[in-house]
């Protein structure tokens, strides 16, 4: 499945998107974030402060407890600073 990163999350992870294959017991986006954090030191740094990470499932905001399927477009990014 595909995961997107934006802004400083992308800088820390090192890529704008990657294809990953999480195990079946990873059911929520919060669990996915914790699992992604183990992939590399960069990932660990990106996800170090869960309060500073926002998530979208299929381009809608999602809380940590929100479930996902492997067909979904998942994105992680910092709090927005537009406008």
């Amino acid at each position: 499945m595909k995961v997107l990163y934006f802004a400083w999350l992308r800088d820390r992870v090192g890529v704008a998107e990657e294809v990953v294959d999480p195990p079946g017991d990873i059911k929520t986006v919060g669990q996915l974030a914790a699992w992604l954090a183990q992939r590399s030191p960069g990932h660990a740094e990106a996800f170090a402060d869960p309060a500073a990470v926002r998530c979208a499932v299929n381009q809608d905001f999602a809380r940590a407890e929100e479930p996902f399927s492997t067909d979904d477009e998942i994105a992680f990014f910092p709090p927005m600073t537009g406008g």
Binding site: Q59, T81, G82
Partner: protein, 153 residues
């Protein structure tokens, strides 16, 4: 109407088009956001606005629909640029038109408050050769929360 674009826009022409031929529009409230020179005089600075293509448009269309539902408006306009911008450059234009001024003013302030916290844009500031991601402001969350009597997403 929602426009997400790298190109600059002509504010006069955009606002003109909003009320053109709409004879019950008495009020056009608008807000223009410009890049400030955060470095201070003399120092070069710039900013790059990153966004999440697709999600941006989806969230802004939702925001437009929400404003049209909350206030008796005729039209809503949101233009948000992305890419590299320099001090004085236009970033964002929000506008709301209505028969009456109060609805137009409130809707325009609402659009900006939500845009700051709900539209997937991120500012990377360059000052004196250093690039830093701008941190989200608590005051922006508070400003957006003012409108949050009902459930929002």
């Amino acid at each position: 109407m929602i426009k997400v674009q790298a190109e600059d826009f002509d504010m006069g022409a955009e606002l003109e088009a909003l009320s053109q031929g709409r004879q019950n529009v008495g009020a056009v409230a608008s807000f223009l956001g410009l890049v400030r020179d955060v470095a201070g005089p003399g120092e070069l600075s710039a900013m790059t606005l990153e966004h999440y293509p697709g999600m941006t448009e989806k969230q802004l269309e939702r925001l437009e629909a929400e404003a049209l539902e909350r206030w008796p408006l005729d039209r809503v306009l949101i233009i948000h640029r992305h890419g590299r911008l320099e001090p004085g450059d236009r970033i964002v234009l929000c506008a709301a038109t209505s028969a009456h001024r109060q609805a137009a003013f409130e809707a325009c302030a609402f659009l900006m408050d939500w845009l700051k916290t709900k539209a997937p844009f991120w500012k990377l500031e360059e000052v004196g050769g250093q690039a830093n991601w701008v941190e989200a402001k608590e005051t922006d969350d508070e400003a957006a929360a003012r409108w949050n009597e009902n459930k929002q997403h």
